[in-house]
């Protein structure tokens, strides 16, 4: 059994809450592995013949498939189950948090007010970008920017504990798999890179950030996000683990860091939560804050380019069913074009598969990795998709 490693602000489940979370975790896994794969047969047997009869050809896009699949009773049922389990999973964790919220807030505050290794910088008049403020990504109540009470930490706790269940533990006991995997990617592609100063854009609860810091313990690490509650939580969490990170409430589209200050900028699986124009702006800002010779690394779900319409449809489930309105659009973007528009040279751009999250945590032998993924977000079992680019020496 994979269990999350406790730290000072990790909410502790009661017996009933733990039972609820265990059941929903297992139910989600069962639906994913045993129920949703039947959609392939529903498509071949019922939906594809209908499209062919109507159009006199194979479907040309995932949208054509979706239009018919949403009318198929098997697809309706499996999607309803997946959506419901996702909602109930977040709610089950939220119960655990709200029951002990005053204590968790007090703990975070005590840590913040004591001697700290890193720091926390919040902006009282900060404007949350609408692509975060107006949508609760992956159905997480309150989203990334929710701030419910004074000194709230709910959003961070919800992400930290909920995403551990959601990914079936594959982010690792410390939820740091994304950062560790990014470090493996860097070690493979840039074995000589010794960053003194690192920036992470979109750190949420700081899981990836602490993973990155463990690979570069001597580097000064700064992490930004837009939500105050995720940042308060991330800071308290990192401090309680003895990890020095400087957290800033900042919009990646318009950062207040000086030009050319960082050797490495990492954006861990955050672009699918942003609008198209925000993606362009963040690339521009990454280019601006990088030192010449510095590296910008990002991870994402793989792009749809060159993928057949049915597989695109399968991967696109989250766009319509998991409150991920930017998912499909971002996976249609060509990041090489975006990089060029931001000032990077196309010849310094690379994209492809790299170390997976489970691999980074040496969990590839875990039963959970054997998932036959069908629909929805990656559960971390396979390889991850990366793009990286180097800023030219001027």
């Amino acid at each position: 059994m994979l269990r999350q490693e406790p730290h000072a602000v990790l909410p502790q489940s009661s017996v009933n809450e733990q039972a609820r979370q265990d059941f929903l975790n297992q139910l989600g896994k069962h639906v994913l592995n045993e129920i949703t794969p039947g959609n392939t047969a529903a498509y071949q047997r019922r939906v594809l013949p209908k499209i062919k009869a109507e159009k006199g050809r194979d479907p040309e896009s995932r949208h054509e498939i979706r239009k018919e699949m949403v009318r198929d009773p098997y697809y309706q049922m499996t999607s309803s189950f997946q959506r419901t389990v996702q909602e109930m999973m977040w709610n089950s964790v939220d119960d655990t948090i709200q029951r002990q919220l005053p204590d968790l807030i007090a703990t975070a505050k005590t840590i913040r007010d004591g001697d700290t290794l890193g720091s926390l910088h919040l902006e009282p008049d900060f404007e949350i970008p609408s692509y975060v403020a107006d949508n609760d990504h992956h159905c997480m109540p309150g989203g990334y920017s929710g701030d419910l009470v004074d000194d709230d930490i709910t959003a961070g706790a919800l992400y930290d504990k909920g995403a551990f269940i959601y990914t079936q533990g594959l982010f690792g006991p410390r939820m740091d798999g994304i950062g560790k995997a990014a470090a493996l990617m860097i070690a493979t592609s840039f074995p000589d890179l010794r960053p003194n100063k690192i920036l992470e854009i979109g750190c949420t609860a700081g899981g990836s950030t602490t993973g990155l810091k463990s690979a570069f313990p001597d580097a000064e690490l700064h992490a930004i996000d837009v939500g105050p509650a995720v940042l308060r939580y991330a800071h308290a969490r990192a401090e309680s683990m003895g990890v020095a990170i400087h957290f800033h409430q900042m919009n990646g589209e318009a950062m207040t860091f000086e030009d050319e200050g960082f050797d490495l900028v990492n954006c861990p699986a955050s672009f699918h939560e942003m609008s198209r124009s925000a993606v362009y702006n963040v690339f521009k800002e990454a280019h601006r804050v990088l030192k010449p010779g510095g590296v910008f690394l990002l991870s994402e779900l793989p792009p749809y380019e060159g993928v057949d319409p049915w597989t695109q449809f399968v991967r696109d489930w989250d766009t319509y069913n998991n409150n991920e309105p930017f998912w499909g659009a971002v996976h249609e973007m060509d990041f090489a074009d975006v990089a060029e528009a931001a000032g990077f040279n196309r010849n310094d751009y690379w994209q492809g598969n790299g170390p997976g999250i489970a691999e980074a945590n040496q969990l590839t032998g875990a039963v959970e990795v054997q998932n036959k993924k069908f629909m929805g977000s990656t559960r971390g079992g396979g390889q991850a998709w990366y793009a990286h680019m180097t800023k030219r020496e001027s």
Binding site: M1, S14, V15, N16, Q18, A19, R20, D22, F23, L24, Q26, L27, H30, E34, I35, P37, G38, T40, A41, A42, Q44, R45, R46, V70, Y74, Q76, M77, S79, S80, F81, R83, T84, V85, E87, M88, W90, N91, D94, D95, Q98, L101, D134, N135, D136, C139, M140, P141, G142, G143, L148, V149, D150, T154, Y320, N321, N323, P325
Partner: protein
């Protein structure tokens, strides 16, 4: 700002309607909620029985503080899997039928 947050909180964003009748969507969610609570009760009974086996007596704090070891956790996981398999019996049958038909067509 309020002091007490009422749960469960909904997520901001468009929830798809999956079935022609929206009441069916609600029924689906209610059935999963009920099944979850059955599993919660089953785990709690299991805890009570295991504490009784160990101590011959049981208190609320015994229940709250008891943690399953690896073996007990695996037994519970298997029990949950059985509950899920019973819950999805007809769904599994629908999948088998669909896949049988698809296979048949591929072979003709």
């Amino acid at each position: 700002m309020t002091d007490k947050i009422t749960t469960p909180r909904p997520a901001q964003g468009k929830r798809p309607q999956y079935f022609d009748d929206p009441n069916m969507d609600q029924m689906h969610a209610m059935i999963i909620a009920l099944a979850t609570e059955v599993s919660v009760l089953t785990d709690r009974f299991d805890t009570i029985e295991r504490v009784l086996d160990e101590k011959g007596t049981v208190s609320r704090s015994d229940i709250e503080n008891w943690q399953p070891d690896e073996k007990a956790w695996e037994e519970r996981r298997d029990q949950r899997e059985q509950l899920i398999r019973r819950l999805f019996r007809t769904v599994r049958e629908a999948r088998t039928t669909l896949e049988g038909q698809a296979d048949q067509e591929a072979n003709t």
